[in-house]
């Protein structure tokens, strides 16, 4: 992913259009990585989250990397199929300048032992400086997931 400077509208003259274009590309890349991790490298999934991230999963709230790690381990194996993807850059006023993306997905998932179900999910991704690299990394600040038929 490119450097923060090229992306942040504060730091240079990147206009709104460029911002939007970049968001689309990032959201596509993110969704590929996230769901691949969810399906095939579940143990690594929690690393995509900020330490203080929150997940609301069908009304169940999970917070913090440790709890997230346990939560994802407890879920059966999955096969996700993403059919819809949309994203928006989040307005600076809400994030105090911290570059943030809203990513919205929808599709179907088959958890082992369950039949296939439709779901909606959305994420707030935020760009963070990384201790291990020059380049900033995206981290999930919040994650909201619900089955379409959660009440049945």
């Amino acid at each position: 992913m490119g450097s923060l400077a090229e992306f942040c509208p504060f730091c240079n003259t990147a206009d709104f259009r460029t911002h939007v274009d970049a968001s689309c590309r990032y959201s596509e890349e993110f969704t590929n990585i996230y769901y691949d991790c969810m399906d095939k490298k579940r143990r690594n999934l929690m690393r995509l989250y900020l330490d203080k991230a929150t997940l609301v999963w069908n009304g169940n709230a999970v917070s913090g990397q440790a709890a997230l790690g346990d939560f994802f381990e407890s879920l059966p194996s999955s096969e996700f199929s993403i059919q819809t993807l949309d994203c928006q850059p989040v307005h600076e006023q809400a994030t105090q300048g911290q570059t943030t993306l809203l990513v919205v997905t929808a599709g179907q998932v088959k958890f082992d032992g369950q039949k296939q179900r439709y779901f909606n999910q959305n994420f707030l991704l935020t760009a963070q400086a990384s201790p291990t690299s020059d380049q900033p990394v995206w981290k999930i600040a919040s994650d909201c997931f619900r089955f379409q038929d959660w009440s049945s």
């Binding site: 819809t84 919205v104 032992g113 369950q114 909606n120 379409q148």
Partner: protein
């Protein structure tokens, strides 16, 4: 026309068209046919090919298809039906025929992929030809057809006349007519002095014939299947469903070896009885199991499957469904059964796909020895309704939503300008559908739907993101008028900081005017907001996902009276209505207000309202406040 030579070939070569190949004196199948030396041929069993075109592989494919469809479209007379698979005795008599075909069918098996458009020979015993008229684009259709008809020795009906490039094309469904048309090529001169050429090419049945079942038919099919479903055994019997009187009497054609029919059936199973355990698909002329592969995901509990009395030619078909954890399988009376040299290899091949199988063709098998690696999959955490995080957050959100939707549903969305930040953004998305948008009931939303999975052009992606509150509200004002079921909204608070409060709202709404009036939609909407003084919220990002509501969602929608007073006058109740209301209130225990709403929503049908009430109560869907008198 038989000679001594021919009769020898008759004896040993049962391949369809075997004789024809010989008559063509060593011409290979792929060599371009010389149309000039064709004439109308006497019809023999099997497919009559007008030209060398596709070659023997497709010929076998079509043969497979034709055989499978032998009983359909019997309008063209039963003289063509040389075999009746229902009630036919042991097929071993046809061994030779099968083997001959299987020899070529090995290739045909691969070739089948190519001919999938044929899909079982949708036209039954019809042989399709595409007639094309080079440069026919310039002709008026009526002029051309009339001119051809005038000199063609046979009457013809052009099917799906259309223009392709410079050509005019149409389909003809039998070889005699096609040949007759071909014969008039270059016999007509057009107004400009050019001769009108007519070419013919054999082709698979045109795909537009594979029409889907209409909703009314699907409903009948569902009823028919319901009758064939045994709830105590979780078993569904679809044996020979094509001739079910309920379907026949309604002229509904459900032929399970056709993709559309099988898909429709599986969809009905998926939506109504996904816990199905036993399924009987015998006597349906199934010759492949591709379309059954959906069962693996959609009907995971299936343990018993009956595929007997079908047309499966190779055990490899079972690969398509080997994800099923079958315990009992019926395969007898399929051609594939004849190809095993002994029972042991038959069992072995079947078990390779279904290691847990205990019974095959009614016979017990020795139980398999398994490895104890299978772990019962973990259960999912229970699903809960709204997550507000805390009362302090809940109050402003609830207040915000009440206000927002009361304006949104009011008919004039302009006041929403106050709810949005100057730099706000909005976008809309929908589930991906293969359907033509003009046929899709969500057509109003389709042109503005922003699905980055499908939309790749950056300019379009940018255009579909509405930016600035003026643009956002202008766009929202153009969306269909709605009435949201605000009492049933579910809210999940994603995250909050000093400067950001983000939450996801899911629920249903009704469209209240226009051609989609009364359609119920379900939505999932993410709001990212910033504080706006006091407990007010100001929207900076708004993303709306809309889909059609499911039957279940529609059933449960709009039970509670809307919290905001409606602008329409409260109707005065007639005396019988008053009486019904008191009786209903007494019986249900609900107060008058809620009882009245329930009755009104069910058109003052006491029994129906009672049923709806009982169902909802059983599911815990009626809030306590309904019972407070």
């Amino acid at each position: 026309m038989s000679t001594a030579d021919d009769s020898r070939y008759n004896d040993h070569d049962d391949r369809v068209g075997g004789q024809k190949v010989r008559n063509r004196k060593g011409r290979g199948p792929f060599r371009a046919p010389m149309y000039s030396d064709q004439g109308p041929r006497p019809r023999h069993r099997g497919s009559q090919r007008g030209g060398g075109g596709p070659g023997p592989r497709a010929r076998f494919d079509d043969e497979d298809g034709d055989v499978a469809m032998a009983d359909s479209n019997s309008q063209d007379g039963s003289s063509q039906h040389r075999f009746n698979p229902y009630g036919r005795p042991n097929r071993r008599g046809d061994d030779r025929f099968d083997r001959g075909r299987r020899g070529g069918g090995g290739g045909g098996h691969r070739g089948r992929g190519n001919n999938k458009g044929g899909d079982g020979g949708g036209g039954g015993r019809k042989n399709w030809f595409k007639m094309s008229v080079p440069y026919g684009k310039k002709y008026d259709k009526d002029w051309l057809i009339t001119a051809l008809q005038n000199i063609c020795s046979m009457p013809f009906t052009p099917v799906h006349y259309h223009v392709e490039g410079n050509r005019a094309e149409f389909f003809i469904d039998d070889s005699t007519t096609a040949n007759a048309l071909f014969k008039v090529s270059r016999k007509i001169t057009d107004k400009e002095g050019y001769k009108v050429t007519v070419l013919m090419n054999p082709c698979p049945p045109p795909s537009f014939l594979q029409s889907e079942l209409k909703p009314a038919d699907l409903e009948h099919l569902k009823q028919c299947m319901a009758k064939r479903f045994d709830g105590s055994q979780q078993a569904l019997d679809l044996n020979n469903i094509r001739i079910d009187p309920d379907l026949v009497s309604q002229n509904i054609d459900v032929t399970l070896n056709r993709k559309n029919s099988m898909r429709a059936v599986i969809k009905i199973i998926e939506e109504n009885i996904p816990e199905l355990v036993c399924l009987n698909l015998s006597n349906n002329k199934l010759f492949r199991l591709d379309d059954l592969s959906e069962l693996v995901n959609k009907v995971p509990n299936l343990k018993t499957l009956n595929l007997s009395h079908n047309e499966l030619k190779t055990e490899r078909e079972l690969d398509r469904i080997k994800g099923l954890k079958l315990v009992e399988l019926w395969l007898e009376r399929n051609p594939l059964c004849d190809y095993f040299k002994d029972q042991a290899s038959y069992i072995s091949e079947v078990r390779e796909r279904f290691p847990r199988l205990l019974k095959l063709d009614g016979q017990d098998l020795p139980p398999p020895i398994v490895f104890d690696v299978e772990v019962t999959p973990a259960a999912l955490p229970p699903c809960k309704p709204s997550y507000f995080c805390s009362e302090e957050i809940k109050t402003p959100i609830v207040g915000f939503l009440q206000q927002y939707y009361s304006v949104y549903d009011s008919g004039d969305r302009q006041p929403l300008l106050d709810a949005y930040h100057d730099g706000a953004t909005f976008s809309l998305s929908m589930p991906f559908t293969m359907q033509n948008p003009s046929r899709c009931s969500l057509g109003d939303y389709h042109k503005d739907s922003r699905n980055l999975k499908k939309l790749k052009d950056p300019t379009t992606r940018f255009r579909l993101l509405k930016h600035t509150r003026l643009n956002v509200v202008a766009f929202l004002s153009e969306l269909p008028k709605t009435q949201h079921d605000t009492a049933s909204l579910i809210v999940d608070v994603n995250t909050f900081t000093n400067t950001l409060l983000s939450f996801t709202v899911t629920g249903v709404f009704k469209e209240v005017e226009g051609k989609s009036r009364d359609s119920v939609r379900a939505f999932c909407r993410v709001f990212v907001t910033v504080p706006a003084g006091g407990t007010s919220l100001c929207i900076v990002n708004d993303e709306l996902f809309v889909r059609n509501a499911t039957t279940e969602e529609i059933r449960r929608a709009f039970v509670a009276p809307a919290p905001t007073p409606s602008s329409s006058p409260v109707p005065t109740l007639s005396a019988p209505q008053q009486e019904m209301l008191s009786a209903f209130s007494l019986k249900s225990g609900m107060n008058l207000e809620w009882s009245q709403k329930c009755l009104q929503d069910n058109e003052w049908d006491f029994n129906r309202a009672g049923q709806v009430f009982t169902d909802l109560k059983a599911h815990g869907k009626i809030p306590d406040v309904a019972f407070i008198k």
